[in-house]
């Protein structure tokens, strides 16, 4: 089995929990404490500070510091169409990108799940987009690949009637998604490929002997087997893709207009161009509340994915 059983080996690990002395308990906790405290301080303190600032008027480029202004930051945020649109756009872009990475990643994994000459090389070629620095990838797409005047893509698509298309001006939304998918489908491919290769060969062979067609074998045996892998891929892919920033900052600056302004970019602009700490904090609080709602489902899914083998 390629998926790990998650229960720790409790049996040989000393006395049963109930019989543990206070000393034993603390000696078990001690190694965990540094990481726990570190994570709490570094990741949770900014969120507490954020709640505080969300009730303050504070422009960091102006003298005079901050003062309490009640819920007016929240009132602004909720009536700011740019913010509401950014939320919707973040969700739609993430969902589309994740779905496409799953579909393409699975297709690539199926393609690579057979022996053929140069398989290792093809696999290496396909995972490389994931390894390229996202900032580098974004700038290479933006210039050498997509430039309307000299970009390679327009040259390759010219036989299909594409004439010096300005992809990032006319199709910004779709183009950004394409680049996100290009960068992340290797991730999905690797996870699905691991799933495919962990299938017991004898079962597949038995299906073949029984005269099952390739497609029905895939549907009846492979897809159910892949399910936890797909769930894991979707979950982790969403966590990473929802915070996509580099491509947007470097390829479109959220534009044209606000066509590709997602939440991360919206918050970045509020801090860096509007200098509005209070407003960004209120928007951040709303984002975090929404994230917690989604994450609580995601965590349940995590719990299921990581235990599916115990449950058998």
């Amino acid at each position: 089995m390629a998926v790990l059983e998650q229960a720790p080996p409790t049996a040989p690990a000393g006395p049963r929990p109930r019989a543990m002395s206070a000393r034993e308990k603390w000696s078990r906790r001690l190694p965990l404490l540094p990481a726990l405290l570190y994570t709490i301080i570094v990741t949770q303190v900014p969120f507490l500070v954020m709640i505080w600032y969300s009730f303050q008027s504070y422009y960091w480029n102006e003298p005079g510091g901050s003062w309490f202004n009640g819920v007016s930051n929240y009132a602004h945020v909720f009536t700011d169409p740019d913010f509401l649109n950014a939320i919707v756009r973040t969700v739609t872009m993430t969902v589309i990108a994740v779905l496409l990475t799953v579909i393409i990643g699975t297709a690539l994994a199926v393609l690579l799940d057979r022996k053929f000459p140069g398989r290792g090389v093809v696999r290496t070629l396909i995972i490389t987009p994931f390894l390229v620095m996202p900032a580098a990838a974004a700038l290479i797409w933006q210039g050498p690949m997509l430039d309307p005047n000299f970009g390679l893509l327009n040259y390759l698509l010219a036989p299909f009637g594409v004439n010096h298309e300005a992809w990032l001006s006319n199709h910004a939304y779709g183009t950004v998604i394409v680049v996100m998918v290009w960068q992340w489908m290797p991730f999905m491919m690797l996870i699905v490929l691991a799933g495919l290769q962990s299938q017991p060969g004898d079962v597949l062979e038995a299906a073949k002997v029984d005269g099952a067609s390739a497609w029905s074998t895939f549907r009846e045996l492979t897809v159910p087997h892949l399910r936890p892998y797909l769930e894991l891929g979707i979950l982790l892919g969403t966590i990473y893709l929802v915070t996509t920033f580099d491509q947007i900052r470097l390829m479109t600056q959220g534009g044209p207009g606000t066509q590709t302004t997602t939440l991360p970019y919206y918050l970045y602009e509020k801090v860096n161009y509007a200098f509005d700490i209070g407003g960004s904090a209120a928007a951040g609080v709303v984002t975090v509340v929404l994230t917690i709602i989604v994450a609580s489902f995601a965590l349940r899914m995590f719990a299921r994915v990581f235990q599916f083998e115990e449950a058998r």
Binding site: I140, L236, T287
Partner: protein, 292 residues
């Protein structure tokens, strides 16, 4: 539970000649192979184009139609190498520093969640993973102020601290999965031999976990090296990293495509090579240790 490396099922095709050895099947196989190669090359195309463009003289990089023949030059690389010194040093310090911090904090934590688990190890694991779901992006304004007030703005320490927090959950989950591979019989035997906790760790656990330590470190290196959002918000010049160098290589005017391509190639190559070498551990790291 047995952990097996991925099986290659293609070997299980029966050796007895069957219908599948007919000409049609052979054609299909060749087609699929060809298809895989074509797809691989298409996926790789932008990266290949980046490397090709990096060797062009600037005048050959912005032409229509794009030029495939030119006399390669290293002149853009020379310019890149002469300008990237401080950036690559900062990237190296932030990446290596944060990775060491992650391992120092993560190893004991993974131990306390696996070999000698605390009572609520499950809650512990989920706390760590949940911090990956609260995007630091949301708190960037307050974080900026915090970093400013603590005097860490444009300091490499800010990046080390934050990159460590970013990678720690991943490392803990991953290291834990390696520690669970230590056979409980071996642990038991060591204990019966009277091995203390220190000897148990140094003589039984570490030999099993050390390859995992390397793959965990590689994953942390990849994510830290490539990070842009925090670097862009929290550094200016003194602590700016390689992604920032890339941005600075796009001028307001003039030809820059060959220069940019050379800079992007130099910035990406270290991690691409690390990733190629660590392909197997990549899967495990990206799945937080769930897939071996």
């Amino acid at each position: 539970m047995t952990a097996i490396a991925p099986v290659d099922n293609s070997n299980t095709v029966p050796a007895v000649p069957t219908k599948s050895t007919s000409g049609k099947a052979v054609a299909r196989k060749t087609g699929l192979t060809l298809g895989a190669w074509i797809v691989g090359l298409i996926v790789f195309l932008p990266i290949g184009w980046m490397v090709i463009t990096a060797f062009k003289p600037e005048s050959a990089a912005e032409t229509w139609p794009p030029r495939f023949t030119f006399s390669p030059t290293l002149s853009e690389f020379t310019i890149v190498f002469s300008g990237m010194g401080p950036y690559i040093t900062n990237s190296a310090i932030a990446t290596i520093g944060s990775t060491i911090l992650v391992l120092v904090l993560g190893l004991p934590a993974a131990y306390a969640l696996s070999v000698r688990p605390v009572k609520r190890w499950r809650d512990g694991l989920f706390f760590f993973i949940s911090t990956k779901m609260l995007p630091v992006v949301a708190a960037i304004g307050p974080l900026y102020i915090l970093v400013l007030r603590t005097g860490l703005l444009d300091s490499i320490w800010a990046l080390i601290i934050l990159y460590a927090a970013m990678n720690l959950p991943l490392a803990i989950w991953m290291l834990r999965s390696f520690m669970l591979e230590v056979p409980s019989e071996t642990l038991e035997a060591a204990r019966l031999d009277g091995a203390g906790r220190i000897r148990e760790i140094t003589e039984v656990i570490m030999p099993v976990v050390s390859p995992g330590l390397v793959s965990t470190a590689l994953i942390c290196v990849i994510f830290a090296w490539n990070e842009l959002f925090l670097a862009l918000n929290l550094t200016v010049t003194k602590a700016a990293t390689m992604p920032m160098f890339l941005i600075s290589s796009v001028p307001q005017e003039g030809l820059y495509i060959a220069h940019l391509s050379a800079a992007a190639t130099v910035a990406s190559v270290p991690v691409i090579i690390v990733g190629w070498i660590a392909q197997r551990s990549l899967v495990r790291g990206l799945s937080m240790g769930a897939i071996k």
